[in-house]
């Protein structure tokens, strides 16, 4: 069992890495309200919030439609959590949609 500080950081960073690798995720976002981040000594993991029962993931997407991207994010985060033995629920918040060359981004189906 790792110490609580190490464990928080490990969980948040694992979730962030997994989510960033999902196609359609432009970046993690701190949100527009109170900053969503997990703080540790010397830095923070932006866009990943840990609570007792829920792990929040705030993302900006650049792929449409949003729903499958959000589901892929949730699934990637849940897998990362499960690999650490964490059984918390994942909540995904899509904060923004990035335009690609000034247009709405390509469809999720075109990518596959």
């Amino acid at each position: 069992m790792t110490s609580p500080a190490a464990h928080r950081t490990v969980v948040a960073q694992a979730v962030a890495e997994a989510v960033k690798a999902v196609p359609g995720v432009a970046r993690l976002s701190p949100g527009t309200q109170v900053e969503v981040a997990t703080q540790y000594a010397g830095g923070k993991v932006i866009g990943v919030g840990l609570s007792a029962e829920v792990v929040f993931v705030h993302v900006v997407v650049d792929l449409l439609p949003v729903a499958p991207v959000a589901e892929a994010v949730r699934s990637a985060a849940a897998t990362a959590l499960a690999s650490l033995g964490d059984r918390r629920r994942v909540e995904v918040v899509v904060e923004d949609l990035d335009l690609v060359d000034g247009r709405l981004p390509m469809s999720y189906r075109d990518l596959r």
Binding site: S3, P4, H7, Q39, A41, K44, G49
Partner: protein, 174 residues
């Protein structure tokens, strides 16, 4: 097994916060092994004990707290005012390194109280959770003491002054 903890002698060895029944003399091997596993260091051995003074623990707690980005300052209003005044006096001994921290250290355990100021806009829950986790991690790792509690008082919010707000508005009319 090397003991990395600083060997200091405390002024008055305070009693253990949660006394063990197994006495200080002949420590049974299994319990010692568990102690070692839990905290990473053994403070009570057959060949003597290591005491860690309050000052050491409070300095570690203070640094561990300041490592969290959401913490703006430490100490209550009075302590911060005195700290500022003291820092203006040239040559004054500024022992502000453990400002805002009160500790109670036993032979194996420590309890810690921390006063902090948090940046406005940060989640107080997140900042305090991060502080608590980091303080426990650092103290248990560096001293081998078991941290039984970390009580945090959020004493104030720091609101950053707006940066050159008037200048950008002034550029509207040239």
């Amino acid at each position: 097994m090397s003991d990395p903890s600083p060997r200091t002698t405390s002024q008055a060895p305070s009693t253990d916060l949660k006394p063990e029944t197994s006495g200080a003399g002949g420590l049974p091997q299994p319990s010692a092994a568990i102690e070692h596993h839990r905290t990473g260091a053994r403070l009570q051995t057959e060949r003597g004990i290591t005491r860690i003074s309050d000052i050491v623990v409070s300095k570690i707690a203070a640094f561990a707290t300041k490592e969290i980005p959401g913490v703006q300052a430490m100490g209550n209003t009075m302590a911060r005012a005195f700290g500022r005044a003291r820092s203006l006096i040239p040559g004054a001994s500024s022992d502000a390194s453990s400002q805002g921290v009160a500790v109670e250290v036993g032979e194996r355990q420590a309890a810690i109280d921390i006063d902090i100021v948090v940046y406005y806009g940060q989640s107080v829950v997140e900042v305090t959770e991060a502080v608590r986790a980091n303080v426990i991690n650092r103290i248990e790792g560096m001293t081998g003491l078991e941290v039984v509690e970390v009580n945090i008082s959020v004493n104030d919010l720091y609101i950053e002054p707006p940066e050159s707000g008037e200048q950008s508005e002034g550029s509207r009319v040239q």
